[in-house]
């Protein structure tokens, strides 16, 4: 799983033409990995101003506005890819536009057989 953490400050500092084509770059990347058969799933998320965080303490549900942690980089989307090894996943992660202005975390999906 490729977890995409964007940094709004760094993104805003990018040249205007790069920002304008951001969506196009994502479309292109998605199409490439769809064509190669590596794409399993992927989506972009709405901004953190729309986030709600839930926890259950002593049976009571606690609902708070906002993301669970206030950080500079926030989770903005994800891809699930089917690749033979970590190196391939790292190559794909580096192609995600936000890798240039934010960070992409690569995590294997838990296989029940590994438990």
């Amino acid at each position: 799983m490729l977890l995409i953490y964007g940094d709004p400050e760094k993104f805003a500092a990018l040249p205007a033409d790069v920002r304008d084509n951001w969506h196009g770059e994502y479309m292109e990347f998605t199409q490439t990995i769809a064509k190669s058969g590596e794409l399993v799933a992927g989506d972009a998320l709405q901004g953190i101003d729309t986030a709600t965080t839930v926890s259950v303490e002593g049976g009571a549900t606690l609902t708070t506005d906002g993301p669970f942690a206030e950080t500079k980089e926030t989770l903005g989307g994800f891809y699930i890819v089917d690749v033979p090894d970590l190196d391939r996943a790292l190559v794909l992660a580096a192609q995600i536009p936000d890798a240039r202005s934010g960070k992409v975390e690569v995590r294997p999906v838990l296989d029940v057989g590994d438990m």
Binding site: P84, D85, D87, P108
Partner: protein, 424 residues
């Protein structure tokens, strides 16, 4: 086992285990399983060979037995665990059977297996301390206990570190292969970094109270030779090996009887290992002729220049300045700048060197004891004793290594001696 017999056997274990382990990991795709089954095979050999005689091809015997043990283990696990596990086990078995021609696998692929293992152990997705430990464990053949002692951590901590690393290799899918051409330069650099770190752990372990740490320098040189064998003609690999040989050649001259550090200029050059210097110098020359200089080659060239000069004063300082300038251009760092300033001081006089050091000081980018220590030396040479004393004090506030602290204290005390002599 009788003692000559035991010696013969132990020698064989040392010689074979690295090769066999790499081949088994390649075959089984599981470091733990490979290590356990190889240990089983050695145990079986220790019982059988003295009784029945040594086989014609001990490696092939050990490999076959180890592989059979591993497959038995996989089968046992798969009957115990659920279907998911069984599928995994079958995969492993199919993988293993595809290379059933055991002897051929062992012969033709063995260097390739070890090289792949190098890249797995030094993968940047692993934390640096785990890369170091894994490399020593799987390629260096050190035990977990030995590695723990060398890095001054409890054995349980080191065992956990290794377990976590092996788990990440398995679960995150860190591949067991030679990186592609585009990845290769970065990944070779990562491997060299690990080996150099191992070397420095040993080289800087100067207190003399832990010989196992000094053994790490030998171990790193062995790894360097292995890399050279596995990647012939790679200039930075040659550069690193040359650098380690050249540094290590001075090991018997770097400390006095009390374990105190002797600076390069006062070392007894007769105590240097000149065959190693010759090998290192020839190696770096060979590397540089390939026309792709890199940081390790340049550092080795610098070390060679020092090591081949008849005396410290006769070192080719202008050439030294050029090499440091080039090194700084390629991999800029405050420590390189500092060393360049010292070379400038010898080439053009202490004033010129001091100017560069003061400039470095103003930028505040180097916060170790090295900077005030170097300033102190130059100030002392300019007979600015008061300022030199202040600089030694500043260095002593930052230095932590006992031998280095004693060295600085001696230098500060010598300052008083010089002054007394000057007054009388």
């Amino acid at each position: 086992m009788a003692s000559p017999e035991r010696e013969r056997f132990e020698q064989l274990v040392r010689a074979s285990s690295g090769r066999l382990l790499a081949a088994l990991i390649a075959n089984l795709g599981d470091i733990d399983l490979a290590q356990d089954s190889l240990a089983d095979a050695f145990l079986a050999a220790a019982q059988r060979w003295p009784r029945d005689g040594y086989p014609d091809d001990p490696d092939a015997w050990l490999y076959t037995v180890a592989r059979r043990r591993a497959l038995d283990h996989i089968r046992r696990e798969s009957t115990r665990a659920g279907r998911e596990q069984a599928t995994l086990a079958i995969d492993a078995e199919v993988r293993a059977d595809r290379r059933v021609e055991t002897e051929d696998t062992l012969r033709s692929g063995v260097e390739d297996h070890r090289l792949r293992l190098v890249f797995t152990c030094c993968h940047p997705a692993l934390p640096l301390d785990a890369r170091v430990a894994l490399t020593l464990r799987t390629l260096g053949g050190l035990t977990t206990g030995e590695i723990a002692r060398a890095f001054l951590v409890p054995e349980t901590t080191m065992a956990q570190r290794l377990t976590r690393a092996k788990r990440k290799i398995r679960v995150a899918g860190i591949p067991y292969r030679i990186p592609t051409a585009t990845e290769l330069p970065e990944r070779i650099a990562a491997v060299l970094q690990v080996v150099y770190l191992i070397f420095n752990e040993g080289y800087l372990a100067s207190d003399g109270d832990s010989p196992i740490r000094r053994d790490l320098a030998d171990e790193a040189i062995r790894l360097g030779r292995l890399l050279q064998e596995l990647m012939p003609g790679a200039p930075e690999v040659e550069g690193l090996l040359a650098l380690m040989l050249l540094h290590h050649s001075r090991r018997d001259a770097r400390f006095d009887g009390d374990g105190d550090l002797i600076p390069l200029e006062r070392q007894d050059r007769a105590r240097w290992h000149h065959a190693e210097i010759a090998e290192g110098a020839a190696l770096v020359e060979q590397a540089l002729r390939r026309g792709a200089p890199g940081p390790f080659q340049l550092q080795a060239a610098i070390a060679a220049l020092s090591a081949t000069a008849p005396t410290f004063a006769e070192t080719d300082w202008p050439q030294m300045v050029l090499l440091y300038t080039e090194l700084h251009r390629r991999s800029p760092s405050p420590v390189v700048e500092l060393n360049r300033a010292v070379a400038v001081a010898y080439a053009r006089g202490p004033d010129a060197g001091l100017m560069l050091l003061d400039e470095l000081d103003r930028r505040g980018v180097l916060t170790t004891h090295l900077l005030p220590a170097a300033r102190a030396e130059l100030l002392a040479r300019l007979s600015r004793a008061e300022e030199a004393r202040d600089a030694y004090d500043a260095a002593l506030q930052l230095a932590t290594q006992p031998a280095e602290r004693r060295f600085l204290e001696h230098r500060r005390a010598a300052l008083d001696g010089d002054q007394l002599q000057g007054r009388s």
